[in-house]
Structures are given as C-alpha cells and as structure tokens.
C-alpha cells in the first residue's frame, strides 16, 4: 500500500492549522496589556507513511508549537490535524502508544532512575510485548552503544549519552511515527553522527515516519529528502533540500588562519572575503560549489596555517530566501 513517497496515503495531515497565544505584557506598574501572538498561522501539509521530513525555521518560528499540536500536548486554535486518522488533541493517550517523541532540550526518561529501569517502565506503560521489547532494546543498545550506560541513573549521563538513551526509549514500542525536536542540539560530532546513522537505519528498515525539527542543516542534508521551512508561523518552503539552497542561494564560509595579518584575500574564483580579524579571514562561496578549488586557490598564494569550512546556518538560508524573493 505504501511505497515510501506515499503522498496519496497521508499519515500526517494538517489543514489550515493555527495556534494563537494570548500574551500579557506589563505596561507600567500594574497595568497589563493583552495581545495575540500567532505562533502558527495557517499551516497545511501532509506527510506520507515512512517519509522522513525536516522541519526547520529560526527560533520562535513555530516549530515546537507545531510538534506540540501533532503530539496532542497543545490544542490548535483553528484548523484540522490528523495523525494516522486520529485527532491528537482529542485522543492524546490513544495516539501516545503509536508515537515516539524526543525533545532535545528535556529528557523523556526518569531523571533519577537507571536507564534500564526507565526502559522497563516504558515497556510496561506502553504494554510492549516482551519479545518486541527485547528485540528493540537489543538493537538500540547495539546501534547506539548503550550497553555501558544501562545501569547509570539518567542524571549522570552526558548530553550525548542521554540523547541516545532518549531516542532508544522513544522506539521501544515500535511507534509508527517519531517526532524529534532538535535531536542533535548540543551534541559533539561523534554523537551527532551516531544519532544520524541510527535514525536513517530506523526509517529505512522499519518504515517509521519521522518528522524532525532542527537548527543544524547537516541533519537535514544527511537525513531528509524533503524539508519544510516555517517562519513567523507560516510555511515558506516545502520541497527538496537542493531546491532550498537554490531558493536561498545560501553560502558556505571558509575560515582561514594565515601566518600573519594580511590584506583581504582577493582574486579567488567564486569566493569573496567577507570579514578580516587579525590573521583570520572569512571567505564566502556558494553552497552548491565544492570547497576544494577555493581551498586550493588560497593555499597556493597565501601562507595558510589552518582552515575550516562552516555550513550555512538556517537563519542565513531563510534570510536569503527573503532577500531573494524581494528582488
């Protein structure tokens, strides 16, 4: 029935969804004024079963609010949401058995309990058959390297360990959909890579639908064929990642440390110097272009000590989308 792209059998459906908050602000000593904040302002999209979609946008754009509505934590102010045909805000606990949620900033595990006890509790609370539990746990322990951590209380885990532990907990009950809110925030490079590999594997082998919000474009590049961009509560882009770069004409940055302070680097094809600070210089070049020729050109003519390449960050891409569209 599903073929992976599955647009004809939407698993997640949003139609004209809004979420309006009443915010009270202090105006003077005692007076308070009420005003409305439209955190999500009329969003519609569908996600097919087994799709893995990136959901990105600047801080405060409405990403987390959307996830909270999809998981049934928040009730939408208007519009219609269906996940697996169910209205999340009305049948929250029923849907809870069929979804997994990972919040990057807060753990869903029991803070003072050993990881193993947290999993045991998940098994019983979600009524996971023992064989399924054993199979899923073994697989998570192996792929996420959790073995040495099982006996440790969650509060003693590092951020990267805890995140791996959280992701495993979210998958023990074979959820049909997995929501990840900033799953790689604050993680080191190795932890990020491990988490990404694992998510790719889960999505591919179990056909789990995945929606992930992130700040890190590398997450999207490595995991998602489809990306949605939200800004000021509205969907401003829905399509492939390559298309996003095109629309945004995003740039990567080459940061070079020279042997000494020098005049801004000039004459490197496709790149321009955007910032100089002592011996360190920043060169911008299109994200679609390989870094190799730029590095080679600089190394050939300047005394290069060290260098690094920075990926475009999401704020940049979105800012450029706007300027691009305005022109």
């Amino acid at each position: 029935m599903t073929d992976g792209t599955g647009a004809e059998t939407p698993f997640i459906e949003l139609d004209g969804v809004r979420k309006v908050f009443q915010v009270r602000r202090k105006a003077g000593r005692l007076r308070r004024t009420k005003h409305e904040v439209r955190a999500v302002d009329g969003i519609s999209f569908t996600v097919g079963r087994g799709e893995m979609v990136g959901y990105i946008g600047p801080n405060g754009a409405g990403k987390s609010t959307t996830v909270k509505m999809l998981t049934g934590i928040l009730v939408p102010s208007a519009g219609r949401i269906r996940v697996a045909g169910i209205d999340p805000s009305r049948e929250r606990t029923g849907l809870a058995r069929r979804m997994g949620v990972v919040f990057g900033q807060r753990t869903t595990l029991w803070w003072d309990l050993p990881l193993r006890d947290s999993y045991e509790l998940v098994r019983r609370m979600y009524r996971v058959p023992y064989d399924t539990y054993r199979k899923n746990l073994d697989r998570c322990v192996e792929l996420l390297d959790l073995g040495p951590l099982l006996a440790a209380p969650v509060r003693q885990l590092s951020l990267g360990q805890r995140m791996r532990g959280d992701i495993a907990a979210a998958l023990l009950h074979d959820p049909e959909v997995l929501y990840l809110d900033e799953p790689t925030i604050g993680l080191d490079v190795i932890s990020k890579a491990r988490v990404r590999d694992f998510l790719r594997e889960v999505n591919a082998s179990l056909d789990t639908t995945v929606l992930l919000t992130t700040h890190d474009l590398t997450d999207i590049e490595q995991l998602c064929r489809r990306v949605m961009v939200i800004d000021h509560g509205r969907l401003v882009y829905d399509g492939g990642l390559a298309g996003l770069h095109e629309v945004g004409e995003s740039e990567r940055t080459l940061v070079v440390d020279l042997a000494r302070e020098m005049a801004p680097i000039e004459g490197v094809p496709g790149a321009r110097t955007v910032k100089v600070e002592g011996p360190r210089q920043w060169l911008a070049f299109p994200a679609s272009q390989s870094a190799a020729p730029v590095v080679a050109a600089v190394a050939e003519r300047w005394p290069l000590v060290d260098l690094s390449v920075r990926e475009p960050d999401i704020e940049d891409v979105i800012a450029r989308m706007y300027t691009g569209r305005a022109e």
């Binding site: 909270k68 998981t71 934590i73 009730v75 929250r92 606990t93 753990t107 006890d117 509790l121 609370m125």
Partner: protein
C-alpha cells in the same frame, strides 16, 4: 452502560500506571537503604515533634479547651494519619508548578497514561511512611485510652473518618496543584490548608474562634476530616451546635471535594493545553 464501562476501564488503566511508576520508585529508593531509613525517621520525627509539643503543654496542664490528653491525642493521631495517607499517595502533585515552569509537564502529556497519575506517582516518596507510622502509633495509643463504648458502628465510624479525611486532604492537594497551572510559584498556599489544617485539627475546636471553626466547616471543610466524627465518637458536642447527622457526612463531603478537585484539575490542564504555559 457502555459509558460507565469505559470509565471503569480508564480508572483501572490509571491505577495500573500509578502502581507501575510507584513500584519503580520504591525499588529505586530501597537500593539506598541507609539513606531511606534516615529520611523516614526524619519524616516521622518531623510530625512526632508536633505531638511532643502537645506532651510538653500537658506537662503544665490537665485539659486544653476542656479536652484531656488522650482526647487531644485522638484528634492529633486521626488528622495526622489522614494527612500522612494523602501526602504519601498524592503529595507529589504539589510539584506541578515546577513541572510547568521547566516544561517537563509536556513529557507527561506524550505518555499513554493520565497526567494526574504520572504527576502524583513520579518521585514517589516512600519516606513519608514515617509520618504515617508515627501518626498511627499516636492514634492507636489514643484509641485505647479514650472513654468509648466500642460498637461495630463506631469502628466503622473511625475507619470512615480516616479514609474520608485522607480523601479531603488529597482533594486539597489536588486543588492546590490545579491552582499552580495559573500561579506556578504558589505551592506554599496549599500548605496552609494541608499542613496548616493538620496543625489546627490536632487541637480541639473549642480552642479556636467560632469564625475560624465556621470557616473550617463550611468554606474549607476540614472539620469533616476528624473534628466532627471524633467529637461524635467521644460523645462531645461540636461548638457550632450543628445537627447530629452532620457528623456522619464525612464521606459525602470527601466525595464532593474530590469531584470539585477533579473539575479544577481538568480546567487547569485544559487551560495549559490551550496556552502552553
């Protein structure tokens, strides 16, 4: 019929989830046995000191507000038992405010168990058996000393008093927690009614101003926790001169309070889910 069947299943499901979480915490508490024993003893000593204060008072006097030591001990033990039971089983709901503040309430909302059950059971504090045990010792001592002509009806009265007392305190804990959906730093307010109420119920109502007793009967019906049933048991009149049948209304009052608390909790949770804060 189908409706009520669904409700029963829901309750069963909630109780099961509660027991699961509690069992996990009890196991985890007992792995640090020495620390648990110290905390339980500390908990018992905490409420024990209140009774020691009363003993110190009675080292100077024979009656307080017209009540002798065994009678005051009966009030003390019954109120503390009811509070101890409610505190042990539901006391942790007072942490709701900090859960709203740090956002961990959201996590409870994505799990397949009622939020209330999870808040009440999380970090289940087994050490609170200390208070309960201390209270039951005082109550047991008092019951052997007060002049009561024991009949099956009076035994039932005592049992009903303790259970509805615990339910009334539990309802107050819940109302306090529901209030924290709006005022997250106000956890202390409910202490005025639970711990403060307990401090008051330890003494005979004749000690207090009539208006305070009226408030504790009609506004926050603490008088039904132990004052009214215990006065009936000891064959004494209540200072407000209420009709005799009122003394037996504890279970009804408890049921009404629990219903009100459930509504307040639902309203609070609904508000949270529409505002997110």
């Amino acid at each position: 019929m189908a409706e009520s069947f669904g409700r029963a299943a829901l309750v069963r499901h909630g109780v099961r989830a509660y027991l699961l979480i509690v069992a996990m915490w009890v196991r985890s508490t007992l792995t640090y046995r020495a620390s648990f024993v110290i905390m339980a003893v500390g908990n018992a000593a905490g409420s024990g000191l209140e009774f020691v204060t009363i003993l110190l008072m009675f080292s100077h006097i024979d009656t307080l507000g017209g009540f002798g030591l065994p009678e005051v001990a009966l009030l003390c033990g019954s109120s503390a038992t009811a509070l101890g039971l409610a505190d042990l089983l539901l006391g942790n709901v007072e942490r709701l405010g900090s859960r709203v503040r740090d956002g961990t309430l959201d996590i409870l909302l994505v799990r397949p168990a009622p939020v209330y059950v999870q808040v009440a059971a999380d970090r289940f504090a087994l050490r609170r058996v200390g208070r309960l045990a201390q209270a039951m010792v005082v109550l047991g001592w008092a019951l052997t000393r007060v002049q009561v002509d024991w009949t099956p009806g009076r035994v039932v009265l005592v049992a009903a008093m303790l259970l509805s007392g615990a339910a009334i305190f539990g309802a107050i804990f819940t109302l306090g927690a529901a209030f924290q959906f709006w005022a997250q730093d106000a956890a202390q307010v409910q202490n005025s009614f639970t711990y403060g109420g307990n401090a008051m119920l330890q003494y005979p109502p004749s000690v207090f101003a009539k208006d305070l007793v009226r408030g504790a009967t009609f506004v926050v019906p603490l008088a039904f926790v132990n004052w009214l049933p215990a006065l009936r048991l000891m064959g004494r009149d209540d200072p407000l001169g209420l009709p005799g049948w009122v003394d037996f209304m504890g279970p009804v009052v408890a049921a009404v309070m629990c219903g009100g608390a459930a509504l307040a909790w639902r309203a609070g949770l609904r508000g949270y889910r529409s505002t997110g804060s």
